[in-house]
Amino acid sequence: MFTIIKRRELNPTVTELCIHAPLIAKKAKAGQFIIVRAKEDSERIPLTIAGFDREAGTVSIIFQVVGAGTMQLNSLKEGEAVHDFVGPLGKATEIEGLKNVCVVGGGVGCAIALPIAQALHEQGTKVTGIVGFRNKDLVILEDEFRACCDEFIIMTDDGSYGEKGVVTAPLEKKIVEGANFDEVITIGPLIMMKFVVKTTKPHNVKTVVSMNPIMVDGTGMCGGCRLTVGGQTKFACVDGPDFDGFEVDFDEAMHRGTMYKPFEAHAREAECNLLKQEVQ
C-alpha cells in the first residue's frame, strides 16, 4: 500500500504528496523519477522524486495539476493510497566532483531542481540557485532553496516578487562577472531550458538539462519517450532524464510534447463537467 502520509498545497495548482514507499526511499537519488497511477483506471504519470526519507521510508512528489491524470492524483487525501507507484526510474543526476554549480529552475521544475541543489549542498558544492515563476502567488519552496543555496535569486515575470524578468538574465550576468561555474543544471519548461542553453553555450559552460517527454511505461519498452540528442535517438526513461543541453534537439522535443494537446483539452473539459455535476 502506497499510503499518502502527508499532503501539502504549495500553491493553488501545485501539491506535494509524501508517500510511504520504503523500498524506493532506500534507493532514490536526486534526479530520478517515479511513475504513479492514482487509481486503477488512471494513466501512468512520471514525476520526479522531490525528496525522500530513507528512515521513515517515504518519497515525496510535487506536481502541478495540468490534466486529467494529475487532477485525479490531486483528489486523493491523506491516509488514502495511490494505486501504483514504481521507481526509482532513470539515471541519477551526476554531481560527483562538482565544486561550483548554478541550479536554474522554472515553475514546477523547481521541485525537481530542489533535491539536486540539496544533494550538491550536502557534498560541499557551492550552489547558486536561480528560480523563476510567473508571479508571486506561484512561488514554491523558497525556504527550502534558501537553506541549501549559497546564493539565491528569485525572478518573476511580472516583478510581483523578487526581481522582474526571466532566469537567463541573472545567469548571463553571473557568468559574465566571472562566477566560473563548473556546470549549470537546469530544469523547467522546455522553452526555458532552451534559452538557458542559448545563454551558456557562447560561454562554453557545461549545461545539463532534465528532459520530460511524454512517457508510458518508463522502463525502456515503448519508445514513446524518445529524443534526439547529438543526432542520435535516446530514450529519456533509461538513458536520461538528464542530457547534455548543447546536444538536445529542443524544437523537436517541444513539438513532440504537444502531440496529445487536443485530446487533453477535451479530457480536461469532461473532467470539469464532472466536477460541476458533483458540486450541484
Binding site: 534507493k27 525502456g220 519508445g223 514513446g224 530514450f235 513539438h255 504537444t258
Partner: protein
C-alpha cells in the same frame, strides 16, 4: 474410421466487416461437436511427426484421441504435462511452421487443426473444471523470477508445483508481459491471461508488480539480502528499433510497442479510457511480423479508413502467422509488399502527412537464407498517411545487464546462457525467453522456462546434498 475430409473444420469467426470495428475476439472457437469431428481427422500416426514440430513436444495424437472420444478433461491432462499455457499457445503459436507444419494430413489437403483443438480443450477446461490447484507442501527453498511474461510465469508455475516459494517481480502494473501489453484483446482475451496468473497465485506464487529489478532491487540484493537461492531472468525483448530515416520524430510516428501499449495495456480502445491515442485516417505500419499485423488491425478498429502494411520483402516472406495475415487481409488491411520507406514527410505543423517509399525486388539470398531485397531504380512514390507505426523489432533492455556485475551478454545485448537449461555466466542465475533469444515466440519462451525450472530444481537439490 478417421474423418477423411480434406479440409479442416472451419473456425467460426466474427464477420470481417463487423469485427474490424470492435475489439472482441475474432475466432469464436469450436463447439464440442466440431472439436470431436476435427479430432477424428487425426490418423494417430505411430511416428507422430507433429510432435517433433512442437517446441515442447506435446503428445499431440494422445490428446487428440481423447478429444475424439469426447473426454476433454483427459485431453487437457495430456497437454498440461508439457504446456503451461495451452489456451494461449492454441491461439498464438505459428502452427503452420510448428506442429501443423509436420502433420501428414497436410500432404493431401489441410492439416489437422492442432492449434484449434488445443485451444478448444483449454477453453473447455477453464469453463467446466473449477477444482482449484492446491499449493503443495513447501520444500523450504526460495526462487525469484524477473518478468511476468510467458517465460517467467512458466518457471514460477513449474517450481511452485515442486514446493518452491516463488516470487515473480514485474515492472509493469499487471502481470502477463507481451500477452497483456502487446497482443490485442481480439486475438488473445486478457481474462484468459489473468486466469493463468490467478492459477499461479493459488499455487502460492507471489506476484509483485511495480518492481523494476535493477532499479529498486538488484539481482545481488535478491540473492544476498532476500535469501533467494536462484534467480530466473525473463525480462523480454526490450526497446523498439527505428529505421534511422529522416522524419521519424514527427508527431504521428509511433513505435508499435507504444501504440499497442496504449491500446492494450492502457485500454485506449475503450470509449471511457483516459489514455490518448491518435484518431488516424490513414496509417502505414512498417514491418511484416505479428507485431505489425496487430498494430495494423488495432488501427483499423480504432477507425482508420486506410491501413497499409509496408514490408520490404514479398507476401511469401511475411514472418507473421499465416492466420493473422489472412485475417488482416479480410479486414481490409492493404499489403504494400516489396516496398520500403525512405523518408517520413511532415506538414507545416510537424505532423506526418505521408512517406516516400521505393519499390524493391528480391535479389540473391542473404545470410538468413532469405532473398535480399534491393531497390528498384526510379521507383520512388509517396504514400499519403497521417500516422506511421514502426514495427521493426526490438533490442534488449539494458537495465538488468548494467546492474548485475558478471552477467554476460552478446553484442546485441541478449543474455548469454550455456545452452537449453538457461544458466548464465553467474552461478544460480538463469535466463530465458526473449531476453536470451531476442524477439521470438510464446511457446519458445515457455519452453525455455520449463527447461530452466528443471535445471534450477536440480541445481538446488544438488547443493542440498
Amino acid at each position: 474410421m478417421p474423418n477423411m475430409d480434406p479440409k479442416k473444420c472451419p473456425m467460426p469467426s466474427q464477420e470481417p466487416n463487423v469485427r474490424n470495428k470492435n475489439f472482441k475476439e475474432v475466432a469464436l472457437g469450436y463447439t464440442e461437436e466440431m472439436a470431436v469431428n476435427e479430432a477424428k481427422r487425426c490418423l494417430q500416426c505411430k511416428n507422430h511427426p507433429c510432435r517433433s514440430g512442437c517446441p515442447v513436444e506435446i503428445d499431440i495424437p494422445g490428446f487428440i484421441k481423447h478429444v475424439a472420444e469426447g473426454d476433454f478433461e483427459a485431453a487437457y491432462n495430456v497437454i498440461a504435462q508439457s504446456s503451461a499455457l495451452p489456451a494461449v499457445c492454441g491461439r498464438v503459436c505459428p502452427q503452420e511452421h510448428q506442429c501443423e507444419g509436420k502433420c501428414v494430413r497436410g500432404i493431401k489437403g489441410e492439416t489437422v487443426g492442432i492449434g484449434r483443438l488445443e485451444r478448444f480443450v483449454a477453453d473447455w477446461y477453464r469453463n467446466n473444471v473449477h477444482t482449484k490447484p492446491t499449493a503443495p507442501a513447501p520444500n523450504g527453498h526460495k526462487v525469484a523470477v524477473i518478468g511476468a511474461g510467458p517465460s517467467g510465469l512458466t518457471v514460477a508455475g513449474d517450481l511452485a508445483k515442486l514446493g518452491y516459494k516463488v516470487t515473480v517481480y514485474e515492472a509493469l502494473h499487471v502481470a502477463g508481459g507481451v500477452l497483456m501489453y502487446g497482443i490485442p484483446e481480439f486475438r488473445l482475451p486478457k481474462d484468459i491471461v489473468q486466469h493463468e496468473v490467478e492459477g499461479l497465485k493459488e499455487l502460492g506464487v507471489d506476484i509483485e508488480t511495480n518492481m523494476v529489478i535493477g532499479k529498486v532491487l538488484t539481482i545481488d540484493e535478491l540473492m544476498n539480502d532476500y535469501g533467494f537461492e536462484a534467480v530466473y531472468v525473463a525480462s523480454g525483448a526490450g526497446l523498439p528499433r527505428f529505421m534511422g530515416i529522416p522524419g521519424e520524430s514527427l508527431n504521428g510516428v509511433y513505435s508499435a510497442n507504444e501504440y499497442l501499449t496504449r491500446v492494450n495495456l492502457m485500454k485506449a480502445y475503450k470509449e471511457d479510457s483516459r489514455t490518448p491515442i491518435m484518431k488516424s485516417k490513414s496509417v502505414a505500419v512498417v514491418g511484416g511480423g505479428n507485431v505489425a499485423m496487430d498494430a495494423a488491425r488495432c488501427a483499423k478498429r480504432l477507425g482508420a479508413e486506410n491501413v497499409y502494411i509496408v514490408y520490404r520483402r514479398g507476401m511469401a516472406e511475411l514472418p507473421a502467422r499465416k492466420e493473422e495475415v489472412e485475417h488482416a487481409e479480410e479486414e481490409g488491411i492493404v499489403f504494400k509488399t516489396l516496398t520500403n520507406p525512405t523518408e517520413v514527410l511532415g506538414d507545416e505543423n510537424g505532423w506526418v502527412k505521408g512517406m516516400t517509399c521505393v519499390e524493391m525486388e528480391l535479389g540473391e539470398p542473404d545470410a538468413s537464407g532469405r532473398r535480399r531485397p534491393i531497390v528498384k531504380e526510379g521507383s520512388e512514390f509517396v504514400l499519403n498517411v497521417d500516422t506511421m507505426i514502426m514495427a521493426l523489432g526490438t533490442s534488449p533492455n539494458p537495465l538488468i545487464r548494467s546492474t548485475t556485475p558478471g552477467l554476460d551478454a552478446d553484442k546485441h545485448g541478449c543474455l548469454i546462457t550455456n545452452g537449453p537449461d538457461g544458466l548464465t555466466s553467474r552461478p544460480m542465475v538463469y535466463a530465458g525467453g526473449d531476453a536470451v533469444t531476442g524477439a521470438a515466440t510464446v511457446i519458445l519462451a515457455m519452453g525455455a522456462g520449463k527447461e530452466a525450472a528443471r535445471a534450477i530444481d536440480a541445481a538446488i537439490k544438488a547443493k542440498e546434498q
